[in-house]
């Protein structure tokens, strides 16, 4: 099987690019901690309301942890609890969310907080809220007739 010299050059360059891309995201994910939401904690989807921390949705200050706040969300067709919440600018926040019924999305538009909520699983993402303003949280996974009416608002305040 014969390969033209130029094709070898092209494939070397192309594969080189792919290796660079993979290295960049790999190092960012596994050394700098920028992994996509992949929490392994499970929960009984029918007992969400009585299971900690989902018995108290909303923002909570925490002590002695790597993050300053925990922001707890409970999703169900077709709403989030809380429907509106304020977060202080610059706070390091762990967003913790789950669903009581079908699969939902949890996407804070214009940020990297974008994760699936699946019944039986807890989804978590930790980040520093370093931009002020009102952010829309949308459900970005189809969940039924009211899917497009399902949202929450997070205001990052100075």
């Amino acid at each position: 099987m014969h390969m033209h010299k130029f094709e070898k050059i092209w494939l070397t360059f192309g594969i080189g690019c792919l290796v660079v891309f993979l290295t960049v995201v790999g190092v960012s994910a596994f050394y700098l901690g920028n992994k996509p939401a992949s929490c392994l904690t499970t929960i009984n989807p029918e007992k969400v309301d009585t299971t900690k921390p989902f018995d108290k949705p909303g923002l909570h200050k925490v002590e002695g942890k790597e993050w300053d706040y925990e922001l707890v969300f409970v999703a169900s067709a077709f709403s989030y609890n809380p429907a509106k919440v304020e977060v202080p600018l610059g706070a390091k926040v762990k967003v913790i969310a789950t669903t009581k019924d079908v699969v939902h999305g949890f996407e804070m538009a214009g940020t990297n907080i974008n994760m699936m909520l699946e019944p039986g699983y807890v989804s978590e993402y930790t980040t520093t809220f370093d931009k002020a303003g009102e952010f829309l949280v949308v459900c970005n996974e189809y969940c039924g007739t009211g899917h497009h009416l399902m949202f929450s608002k997070i205001e990052v305040v100075k």
Binding site: H4, C39, C143, G144
Partner: protein, 551 residues
């Protein structure tokens, strides 16, 4: 020697079965296209659906008709004809098998379609549990999948017969490629068959109360990514093995074409996690391993890009073109059989670039489930693949029906492709940008409580409606051409173009036909990528979910 190529015709009995597939495929295109138009209009915020029809109902219909019916029927019809043309007429047994497959798929389509129309299955074409559709919807899907296996078996039978009659020879390129795609499809659909048969059907029938959501999703995406390669490979068949003949050039390298198809077989399947990157319950290390495997499947596409440019440049230079890009101008731009798939190829450049972004692990958080993704697969599937399918049908339909592609239809075909391109530039372009701003996919019009961010998305949604309207015009044009070529075009002989390799001395290595080897590696890669994560998912499973009907 006189016109031997032109006289090699697909046997009329095989032609009939291929055409049966195309009637269903183009019927699905007509209906699905209308649904698509309605969606873009609704989401512009300027239009509401009449008679209480639900947005998500037509969204389900659009996805099932376009993503599953149009594609599967067209591909099976095209590959069946390509095998008949290059490996010889199908035997009566193979043809009967093909017909059984066709009718199973058609019956399944009708079953699932009826349930969608009755609003019993507004679960979108991904039918994620615990949304629970009517059991007939799942049974219909089973029929479609099983039917496609039977249908594909016909191609494999004829390929095997050719191999038996020609020991030690590499099989005809188009037949080889068709069989690779069919085999990949069979291995991939095992996943969706497993979740439908063992999880969703018993659950929707009430035999079991709950379903394990993550297992179902993982099985679905084990199938879901090779599904998109199943759409793409027939387009690659046309680009590699048919376009060179149409332009009057040669296949750049027969062996490299085969190698790229084998790489697609190996690496299309063990990569489903890149659709589940933001999901809980899957270890991030395993996600990243599948991201690496996903990047492997980019390599055959890089090879394809080089081969295609090389075919064009060689042809152009043989026509006396000079300079770095002079060859580009001498390509047969007035031939719809070339220009239409070419626009498809060109669209694959932004489509592929977008795909690399989607698969880049945490970068998926920027675009996951935003309308960027919808924009992405409307470039890959709905432009690269479909325009190539249209381009194929412009010679294949008249070839099968014993008619001619007239000058007028040829011209209309080229106009159709440009209309499609412009419509898609508006629609897919706007989807990409809106997605980067966070606009979600699969959502009806909403201002989300007059959110400032959501209000910024509306102009993009209007652009999508403009694009969607232009695209619908494109669908009307392609249907006009299809009906003309199937029923009204003048009688005559239209060639089924099959390319020849540039270097006939270079025989493809026989190792490419060693199915035990390639299926063995395919299985090994799948087991490597999925065994441990699957055990984890099963061992750490939460309580199952009961079904919901939230529509």
């Amino acid at each position: 020697m006189v016109n031997t190529a032109a006289k090699v015709k697909v046997d009329p009995r095989d032609a009939k079965l291929s055409m049966a597939h195309f009637f269903v495929a183009f019927g699905a295109l007509a209906l699905g296209g209308l649904m698509g138009l309605l969606q873009t209009l609704v989401r512009s915020g300027k239009f509401e659906l009449p008679w209480g029809i639900g947005y998500y109902q037509i969204l389900t219909a659009h996805g099932v008709l376009m993503g599953l019916v149009l594609t599967t029927f067209f591909i099976m019809g095209f590959q069946y004809a390509a095998v008949s043309r290059t490996a010889g007429t199908h035997s009566p047994a193979a043809r009967r098998t093909g017909w059984i497959g066709f009718w199973l798929m058609t019956a399944g389509t009708l079953m699932s379609g009826t349930m969608i129309l009755l609003n019993e299955a507004s679960v979108l074409y991904t039918f994620y549990a615990p949304l629970k559709a009517h059991w007939i919807f799942y049974l219909g899907l089973t029929f479609v999948v099983v039917g496609s296996w039977v249908d594909g078996a016909a191609q494999i039978m004829t390929y095997a017969k050719w191999r038996k009659n020609n020991p030690g020879k590499p099989s005809p390129l188009l037949s080889f490629m068709a069989v690779i795609n069919t085999v990949m499809w069979i291995v991939a659909t095992l996943g969706v068959a497993a979740t439908v048969l063992f999880q969703l059907l018993p659950w929707s029938l009430g035999l079991v109360d709950t379903v394990d959501v993550l297992i179902s999703r993982t099985l679905f995406w084990y199938f879901g990514h090779p599904l998109v390669y199943f759409w793409l490979l027939p387009a690659y068949m046309c680009w590699y093995a048919i376009i060179p003949k149409i332009i009057g050039g040669k296949i750049f390298s027969d062996s490299l074409a085969r190698l790229s198809f084998i790489l697609f077989l190996l690496f299309s399947i063990p990569v489903g996690f890149h659709h589940q990157l933001t999901e809980p319950g899957i270890d991030p290390a395993w996600k990243f391993i599948q991201v690496i495997l996903t990047f492997m499947v980019i390599i055959p596409s890089l090879m394809t890009a080089f081969s295609l440019f090389a075919t064009f440049e060689r042809y152009g230079r043989s026509k006396g073109a000079t300079g770095l890009f002079g060859w580009f101008k001498v390509l047969p731009w007035n031939d719809a059989r070339f220009t239409v798939p070419f626009i498809g190829m060109a669209s694959f450049i932004p489509a592929g670039a977008g795909g690399i972004i989607n698969a880049s692990n945490q970068m998926d958080q920027v675009v996951h489930n935003t309308i960027w993704v919808t924009g992405h697969f409307h470039l890959t599937a709905a432009t690269s693949v479909v325009l190539t399918f249209f381009g194929i049908s412009y010679w294949l339909v008249p070839h099968l029906t014993g008619r001619k592609l007239t000058k007028a239809m040829n011209k209309l075909g080229i106009i159709q492709a440009w209309v499609w391109f412009i419509g898609m530039a508006f629609m897919s372009g706007a989807m990409h940008f809106q997605g980067l701003l966070g606009g979600p996919r699969r959502s009806a019009f909403s201002t989300y409580g007059d959110s400032k961010q959501a209000l910024e998305w509306i102009p993009y949604q209007i652009a999508q409606a403009v694009g969607g309207t232009i695209l619908f015009l494109g669908i009307i044009l392609v249907l006009v051409i299809f009906i003309n070529l199937a029923f009204f075009a003048p009688k005559g002989e239209e060639e089924f173009p099959v390319g020849e390799a540039e270097n006939l001395q270079e025989k493809a290595p026989m190792v490419f036909e060693n199915w035990k080897l390639w299926l063995g590696i395919t299985a090994a890669l799948i087991l490597f990528a999925y065994t441990i994560p699957f055990i984890d998912i099963i061992q750490n499973a939460p309580p199952g979910s009961k079904g919901f009907k939230t529509w």
